[in-house]
Amino acid sequence: MAPERRIRSTVDRLDKPSSYAGSKNRRRRRDDDEPRERTPDPFDKLKDSTTLYVGNLSFYTTEEQIHELFSKCGEIKRLVMGLDRFQKTPCGFCFVEYYTHQDALDCMKYIGGTKLDERVIRTDLDEGFQEGRQYGRGKSGGQVRDEYRAEYDPGRGGFGRAHIDEYGGEREFNEYR
């Protein structure tokens, strides 16, 4: 058996980056006028990633709560709360950075999709926090998904802050970044 042959698992893996994490890189590559071979693999940047994007948090969830849950997968190096761009209050996402890539993968496998503060949270591998990314990108300062959300979500500021028509073209996962 040739060792190079990649063998696919018989069930899906939960520690793969989402389509968004990959597509984000692809989009950027298209924007740059660089030659294609610069980033041959859209997931390359994530292959040693130690950072996770965490979504669908309640605005009221504290750093301590996040720390309590996420440290079950390994020591946390840094935790950056996502903030409303104007209010500077939590707006429902954060970045969790571990010391090792393995801890980040384990977090995808064991914590993504479980509850924190009684909400099912979403985790995704991330290429790493950069200054500026802690702010919501929605028009009113929070995350884009909270602009147009039609359902009432008491943990995320009630109803969406704007009409869906204005942002109709945006997809939910644009919340990221």
Binding site: R6, L14, E64, Y110, D117, R171
Partner: protein, 857 residues
């Protein structure tokens, strides 16, 4: 044979929880999977892999390879009989045998399925068994391909993989010439003899005996009565190894070892296996629960043509056992048997002496551990446990306990949910450590509850009650794990628990393990949530355990605000100076003022009050959140280090100040101490000496869960650091300078680790023996009742066992001997094999995840 006469669909129809329509159930599952990706995308790009979940695309001719992959992966989990499925797969395989992809890639899937889904091994072997009648070359290709991987596992010391692959051969025993697998099992046993005679504390030999004993049942089911004598012979040989007890086994028991009240006696895994197999021998090697295949009915032959001869036989593959045997990537330990349901009034799981218990448990545990990368899939397989064993092994799924009792009167069947929960807990409560992070087992239980709540929740409730009942004598590390799991679990299910059941324990002293557990549970729940919310989930009787102060979102009081607190002015001044980022000289002036006043007041170590003021001010400034705290530490660390470095008492005072400031939320204090260790404002020994010295008093804090947490976290930090140093040493291409550098770090690390363990053992053993001065003093003064003294003694004993074990386990990693052995093994490794092969092994088998970065695609 009779095993598959019933149509599984009919069985399914009666099942609760999942219901009979499997396809529909998968669709439900798929919604859970879907959470990971927005739905739009799923529609655009139907999940192509894992055809368990995706319905077959209609109207398109499926490539033989894809079809075979799909059929094989789903074997035994559809409504068809496995025998029928086996025949169908064998037919497609024979038909498309000329295709290159079928000849090669398909056997990657084949091997992968054996490694990842152990429940399916007998069925995968069944396919080979059936296809052998028509095209023996297919069976021999399968054997050859599995053998390659088996040899690799044997060379690399991947024992779990080795065991699973070997099971495939055991299930094909009837196709092998001569004695088949038994000859190889004997060869393995010879290796055991060599290992055991070379080292009395050898654990690899124990692992091999376990593998031998777990393989025999499958070989006998497939091989039939012809091999009974062979098995008997082998059992006589393994007896002596299996009945032996190693010294380390005393510290891996789930319950305090010399206690007569423990719920089940200690059994080593291999000792138990040996006994169970002896019992099975007496009852004629029945193994009724293991599924079997029958040869296909031969195609009709024309009159006069003789029926084809028996199946083609194959030579058993030749394996070479490496010498020296590779221990494998992780240190091995003997295993203790754990069960929360065994030998109770109602037999919901096999009796302790029944081999079925071990065989089914082993298969469940391997499924759990091999597929840790998809807990949703694992939960699904576990809930379907009854699909993978003989019919009539289990009662109907989700059967209510009362109805089960009735059914059990007529015939022996087991409750699959109890066996599932028992197996997961056997890992959660495995000492010294399970295969994966504990949180994996947490989320797996959560997932099982999500997909089959009606089936799992009642079993889980009985498990919780059993552990709580026996908490008093449980190993302290395990009771801490239980606490951590219990609170995390409740946080996923609206914190619902029938608290009224435990009200009676509220009147016990806080030192009582059952009361201490309740206190610790509420604290842990609040850490994941908040005080008001947790209070709302509790009956009134519990409310006083949650301090009212926590209802307000305010930061804890700053004690220097009170003018009666000594050094009140200076304390306030320091806080102010930190806030406005005052220059170092200003802060130093305030500190000098404290030193002066303290000298006047006749305080021995003036650095203690100044450290207290500064550390408390840092806590106050950073009270709002962990980020605030970190920036407060940044501001205060230089002056703090300047004073605390002057005396050990001052360093310990940092811990004391943090804990005092956060006395109502000890979890925050534990975290802060952890950060202070990272900033090297504290050394591990300071924390230990504070917790088990200054803070220990008459031993009451031994009952406080957060003290245990703080000490264990600190010890873990030390051992993790050691492991980094050791693994830096275990690299092949080091220069002599690098080696010297690492050895220079390793020596002192070793010494200080040993010192820490010695300190802990000394500190607690006085209390364990009731000989600690303060304990005797308080008892004499009547401040502690004799019951309290007894309780403290038991707590101390439990502490002692935990750190004795941790110390011994650590020696396996850092001792001069074990490092030398590993270096020798590393040097003996053949050059080119190292990289390429190691990477190949890492592919998707779940266990090698430490190098998971190759698996991202």
């Amino acid at each position: 044979m009779a095993d598959y006469e019933d149509d599984r669909r009919d069985r399914g129809r009666n099942r609760g929880g999942g219901g009979g329509n499997k396809r529909r159930r998968y669709d439900d599952d798929d919604d859970n999977y879907g959470r990971r990706e927005p739905p739009q995308r799923r529609r655009q790009n139907p999940r192509e892999g894992d055809n368990h979940y995706a319905p077959r695309r209609e109207g398109r001719l499926e490539e033989p390879f894809s079809k075979l992959r799909r059929l094989l992966i789903n074997i035994a989990s559809s409504s068809k009989l496995p025998q029928t499925e086996g025949e169908e797969i064998a037919a497609v395989l024979a038909e498309s045998w000329n295709e290159e992809k079928v000849k090669t890639d398909f056997f990657d899937v084949w091997v992968q399925l054996i490694l990842e889904q152990p429940f399916k091994i007998p069925f995968v072997a069944g396919v080979a068994f059936i296809v052998n009648h028509e095209k023996p070359e297919i069976a021999s290709t399968a054997i050859e391909r599995v053998a390659e991987r088996t040899q690799e596992a044997l060379r690399a010391g991947q024992w779990k993989e080795f065991k699973l692959l070997l099971r495939f051969f055991a299930c094909l025993q009837s196709l092998f010439e001569d004695d088949g697998i038994f000859t190889f099992l004997e060869q393995l046993f010879d290796t055991v003899v060599d290992l055991q005679s070379a080292n009395e504390n050898d654990v690899v030999g124990i692992e091999l005996v376990k593998i031998i004993l777990l393989t025999v049942p499958y070989a006998l089911v497939a091989g039939g009565p012809r091999f009974h004598a062979k098995a008997q012979e082998l059992l006589q040989k393994t007896e002596i190894v299996a009945s032996n007890t190693l010294s380390i086994e005393r510290v891996i028991e789930a319950y305090v070892s010399d206690n007569s009240e423990k719920p089940i006696p200690y059994y080593s895994m291999i000792g138990l296996l040996q006994t169970q197999l002896n019992n099975e021998a007496e009852s004629g090697w029945e193994f009724a629960f293991i599924p079997r295949f029958q040869p296909p009915i031969p195609k009709k032959t024309e009159d006069g043509v003789p029926p084809p001869p028996g199946p083609s036989m194959h030579p058993f593959p030749a394996f070479s056992v490496p010498s020296p045997v590779n221990q494998g990537p992780k240190p091995l330990f003997p295993e203790a048997f754990i069960s929360l349901y065994v030998d109770q009034e109602i037999e919901t799981v096999p009796r302790i002496g029944d081999i079925a218990g071990s065989i089914i448990r082993d298969s469940i545990v391997d499924t759990i551990d091999q597929l840790d990368f998809n807990r949703d899939a694992v939960a699904k397989f576990l809930v379907e446990l009854d699909c993978y064993w003989s019919v009539h092994t289990f009662a109907k799924r989700a059967i209510a306990f009362d109805r089960f009792k009735e059914e059990q009167k007529d015939k022996i069947v087991w409750k699959s949910e109890d066996m599932i929960i028992d197996a997961i807990f056997s890992q959660l409560l495995k000492l010294p450590a399970p295969e994966h992070k504990l949180v994996y087992y947490h989320s797996l239980i959560t997932q099982c509850c999500k997909i089959a709540p009606a089936a799992i929740a009642p079993s889980l409730g009985r498990a919780i009650r059993f552990i709580y009942k026996n908490l008093d004598f449980m190993d302290l590390e395990l009771s801490y794990r239980f606490l951590d799991w219990f609170t995390h679990h409740l946080s996923n299910f609206e914190f619902r628990w029938r608290w009224t059941e435990w009200v009676e324990y509220l009147s016990l002293p806080n030192l009582h393990p059952k009361k201490a557990f309740i206190i610790a549970t509420l604290d842990k729940e609040m850490r994941l949530s908040f005080a008001k919310r947790i209070r709302s989930t509790l009956p009134e009787e519990y409310h006083s355990l949650i301090p009212a102060r926590l209802d307000d979102d305010n930061s804890p009081d700053f004690k220097y605000e009170d003018p009666n607190t000594p050094f009140s002015e200076e304390g306030k001044a320091l806080l102010h100076q930190l806030k406005k980022k005052a220059p170092a000289e200003e802060i130093q002036a305030t500190i000098d003022a404290i030193h002066m006043k303290a000298t006047e007041a006749g305080i021995d170590d003036v650095h203690v009050p100044s450290t207290d003021a500064l550390a408390t001010a840092i806590c106050r400034l950073g009270a709002k959140s962990m980020s605030h705290l970190l920036s407060a530490i940044e501001r205060g660390k230089e002056p703090l280090l300047a004073i605390a470095d002057r005396s050990d008492a001052a360093k310990r005072q940092i811990v004391a100040s943090v804990v005092e400031y956060w006395k109502d939320q000890p979890g925050v204090a534990v975290n802060i101490v952890d950060k202070l260790l990272n900033y090297q404002l504290l050394q591990p020994v300071n924390v230990i000496q504070w917790a088990l010295g200054d803070h220990l008093g008459a031993g009451e804090p031994l009952s406080e869960s957060w003290v245990f947490e703080m000490v264990s976290n600190t010890v873990t930090k030390v051992t993790n650091r050691n492991h980094q140093i050791v693994s830096a040493r275990l690299v092949k291409t080091l220069s002599p300078e690098q080696i010297t550098l690492i050895e220079e770090a390793l020596g002192p690390a070793r010494t200080s680790t040993r010192d820490i363990f010695k300190y802990i053992e000394d500190a607690v053993s006085g209390f364990a023996q009731g000989a600690a001065d303060k304990l005797i003093e308080k008892e004499a003064l009547g401040e502690l009742a004799p019951e309290d003294v007894k309780l403290i003694g038991v707590w101390a004993k439990r502490w002692h066992t935990v750190f004795l074990r941790k110390g011994q386990v650590e020696e396996r990693v850092i001792s001069e001997d074990s490092v030398d052995t590993k270096i020798r093994l590393l040097e003996a490794e053949p050059e080119p094999m190292v990289e390429g092969e190691a990477e190949g092994e890492g592919q998707g088998n779940g266990v090698q995840d430490a190098n998971g970065d190759t698996e991202m695609l």
